[in-house]
């Protein structure tokens, strides 16, 4: 079972867990990314996520497939990434991986988040308490900074 989606509504974690659950599995590992109120010392008020959607879905599917195949018995993998305007505390990404055994589930989940962070064409613009905003990437670079008009 592999499920990936880019979504504009809040991610339903319980439903995502339901997608990978079955009587054949004994372990579910999950990772959630959430919007934090500070980044590199700057107070953040919100984040705007955008994507090259067709390619992002394709990369997410590829990563889920790779994670699934790390073990003899395939993992079930469900990934949802949110797009649009997110507020503090909102879940931006949810990854849920199940397997008969815990080591494979934990490994698969970690594999997905690490690969997602470097390969999937999703971008974020942080909004700061001082009214500015900036594109920030996963290497910690502030690409541009501008005052909102």
């Amino acid at each position: 079972m592999i499920h990936v989606a880019l979504v504009r509504e809040p991610i339903d974690i319980t439903r995502l867990i339901g997608r990978v659950a079955s009587h054949q599995i004994g372990a579910i590992a999950a990772f959630l990314g959430t919007v934090r109120d500070v980044n590199e010392g700057r107070p953040v008020t919100g984040i705007e996520y955008s994507a090259y959607e067709e390619m992002a879905e394709r990369e997410l599917l590829a990563i889920a497939g790779e994670a699934s195949r790390h073990s003899d018995v395939p993992c079930a993998v469900a990934i949802e990434h949110r797009l649009g305007e997110l507020s503090l505390g909102d879940v931006s990404v949810a990854i849920v991986v199940s397997h008969p055994h815990r080591a494979a589930a934990l490994h698969g989940c970690q594999y997905v988040i690490e690969e997602l962070k470097v390969r999937v064409p999703i971008w974020k613009r942080e909004h700061y308490a001082d009214g500015t905003r900036a594109w920030v990437d996963n290497r910690g670079t502030h690409v541009t900074s501008e005052v909102i008009g």
Partner: protein, 80 residues
């Protein structure tokens, strides 16, 4: 040939557009599409070698292009 050029996030901001329909020589490769973008106003803020995708897959600079390809410049990603 004609290809569609897609820009995202900070690159779209820098160039003031998200999509361009461009004309390239028939034997063009990814590098030629990049050179085209570099000559546009605002392109000086792009990195020396941005990642490129062709038809929604990462592609090397020497990949040949064909009529109708979707060429995208991929800024440093920030998912998660």
């Amino acid at each position: 040939m004609r290809v569609a050029l897609h820009l995202f996030a900070s690159y779209a901001d820098a160039l003031g557009t998200r999509s361009l329909d461009v004309s390239l020589p028939d034997n063009a490769i990814v590098r030629d599409a990049l050179e085209y973008v570099r000559a546009l106003p605002g392109a000086q803020s792009l990195p020396p070698q941005p990642l490129v995708a062709v038809n929604a897959e990462y592609a090397p600079l020497d990949r040949p292009l064909k009529q109708g390809d979707e060429v995208a410049l991929i800024p440093p990603v920030a998912g998660g």
